[in-house]
Amino acid sequence: MSGGSVHETVLSWSAGRETVIGVRADESVLGAAERADLALPFGCRTGACATCTGRVVDGWIEHTRPPRALKDRHLAAGYVLLCIAEPRSDCRIEVGSDVRTELVSNPWK
């Protein structure tokens, strides 16, 4: 690993489980989780499907491509696409399949 920055990233699941991983400056949160043998949901890996959605509760991330699966209201609420998200600071991110299900609800209900 080069001397570049590694951001300490806390992943937290709704069930209460938490894990800290180091995310390098040049890798996505999803990629770093895989390197650490942690299974996070994903689908397209191109920022189109939202399967990998997480929610940043603390810290600063940048998307390396346009996050096409998220609407402005989602971005404003802190949702990020972990397949194309790179931390720019230490972060705390809610992860797991429940996070994606918060994006849309049953419109008839």
């Binding site: 299974a39 689908g43 397209c44 939202a50 419109p107 209900k109």
Partner: protein, 464 residues
């Protein structure tokens, strides 16, 4: 050269239909008369989008009532990666290539809807199929396409796949062609013929193909949002193609009553120029046909939205799948949100007549459990036996949409159910003895999606 062409090899346990080599039957009537009852079903099983750390799989379901493992998932071919969302799949060859010497209906082409990865599975051993090849997403993105959907073999031994998006999951979609060795040949049509894409069906004798429209992958992938409907981001048109020229000759706007046209089915007779498309959101079925100087589409079935206790707005049926029986006499479709499967007599194709229906699960169906198993979804993907006497269905639509409308399905998994059909009387009855529980698999509860038979079926076989 692929192993699809080895004319001297016979299948291990069952001979080709009709006892002869070849990928299919000479006519739809031959399929009805010469076929034997289905013994195994191939069913998509999914873990995408859940916290279950396992890849999606091809499930082999035993549907032979004389077998000890009847109604069990007897084998699972796991894909090499997670995250695919296996959805629809198809054969390397169907009855349309009946006359191509040496070709066998043997390989399943199984795309990942979210991953854009395409898998080839060899079913030479029907009960133990094997993954033999994987086309990685990058190879698909090279042609500025993504989100593979409907797979049909096309008459020369090649395979055509409808693609719903460009490489970024945006519009336009298009079609990807594979050669007989399952190498990506490239784009089938001149790019830009259509914007949105979904399902398609071709009728080679009339040199015609009809394709439908879902939306851009980036629109439907995350889930269903009414804002996207209001913004016009969902489809409502069908496209009539010149099959030989690969160009769109006519586009029919189905209007507000035709929102989100999904599955397209022509009648099976190669002579027929009649077909149906189900509009999921507006919950209508359209009949389309060649009127001589142009193609026309008319709404022939309208499923009324229903009030639901505690829900704010009337709920549409959501017509998500439909199929035509091999004898072209009945149309079946599912109302995924309401919870019924309907059977219509289409002896007069422009005037379908409701013959029967079954309620099972859904938000309105008397949610009676089957064998004590609570049903966590509504009827969705359908498949009918070639003789028209057994109708099967699964309950998952699309992982993110399931989570919105049937959140319990993620915890309970899908089921596969069956009805006995009496084609003479035009009736159906739920078979309470039949239940395949995808909630009870080793890695955890799975979603179940499309169903195919080894010897061809009512939703994929085409005749030339």
């Amino acid at each position: 050269m692929s192993d699809a062409r080895k004319p001297n090899e016979t299948s291990t346990d069952e001979a080709q239909p009709g006892g002869s080599e070849g990928p299919g039957y000479t006519t739809p009537q031959a399929a009805i008369e010469e076929s034997t009852p289905e013994k195994v079903a191939y069913v998509m099983g999914l873990y995408v989008g859940t916290d279950v750390d396992a890849p999606d799989f091809l499930g082999v379901v035993d549907v032979d009532p004389d077998s000890e493992s009847y109604t069990e998932v007897i084998d699972r071919v796991e894909m090499p990666n997670r995250g695919d969302e296996l959805h629809h799949f198809g054969w390397n060859a169907c009855s349309s290539s009946c006359h191509v010497e040496g070709l066998e209906r043997r390989h399943l082409v199984i795309p990942g809807q979210r991953s854009s990865r395409i898998h080839i599975v060899d079913t030479k051993d029907r009960r133990n199929p094997e993954l033999t090849k994987v086309i990685e997403p990058e190879e698909v993105f090279e042609h500025d396409l993504s989100a593979p959907h409907t797979v049909h073999c096309i008459p020369d031994g090649n395979v055509l796949i409808s693609m719903l998006g460009d490489r970024d999951g945006d519009l336009p979609g298009g079609f990807l062609a594979l050669d007989e060795d399952f190498e990506v040949e490239g784009r089938w049509e001149p790019p830009g013929e259509i914007e949105m894409n979904y399902d398609y069906w071709y009728q080679p004798r009339h040199d015609v193909m009809v394709s439908s429209e879902w939306a851009a992958p980036k629109t439907y992938y995350p889930g269903f949002d009414l804002d996207d409907v209001e913004a016009g981001d969902y489809g409502r048109r069908i496209h009539v193609w010149n099959w030989e020229d690969r160009t769109v000759e006519q586009t029919i706007d189905l209007g507000e009553e035709g929102l989100i046209p999904l599955e397209v089915r022509f009648l099976h007779s190669p002579e027929a120029t009649h077909g149906y498309v189900g509009a999921a959101l507006s919950s209508n079925v359209f009949h389309f046909h060649d009127a001589g100087d142009e193609w026309r589409a008319e709404r022939v079935i309208d499923v009324e939205a229903r009030e639901h206790d505690g829900w704010e707005m009337p709920v549409p049926g959501l017509v998500t799948d439909l199929l035509v029986s091999m004898d072209d006499r009945y149309l079946f479709f599912s109302n995924w949100l309401h919870g019924d499967v309907r059977m219509y007599d289409i002896s007069d194709p422009s005037n379908p007549r409701l013959a029967d229906r079954i309620w099972a699960g859904g938000h309105f169906g008397d949610p009676a459990p089957v064998q004590d198993r609570e049903l966590a979804g509504g009827p969705q993907m359908l498949q009918l036996s070639l003789d028209g006497e057994r109708l099967y269905w699964t309950t998952s639509l699309f992982s993110s949409w399931d989570d919105q409308f049937y959140p319990e399905e993620a915890e309970r998994g899908s089921v596969m159910l069956k009805a006995d059909v009496d084609p003479r009387r035009g009736t159906m009855q739920l078979d309470e003895e039949f239940l395949v529980d995808f909630g009870e698999l080793p890695a955890g509860p799975a979603r179940a999606h499309e169903i195919r038979w080894p010897d061809g079926d009512c939703t994929s076989d085409v005749w030339r």
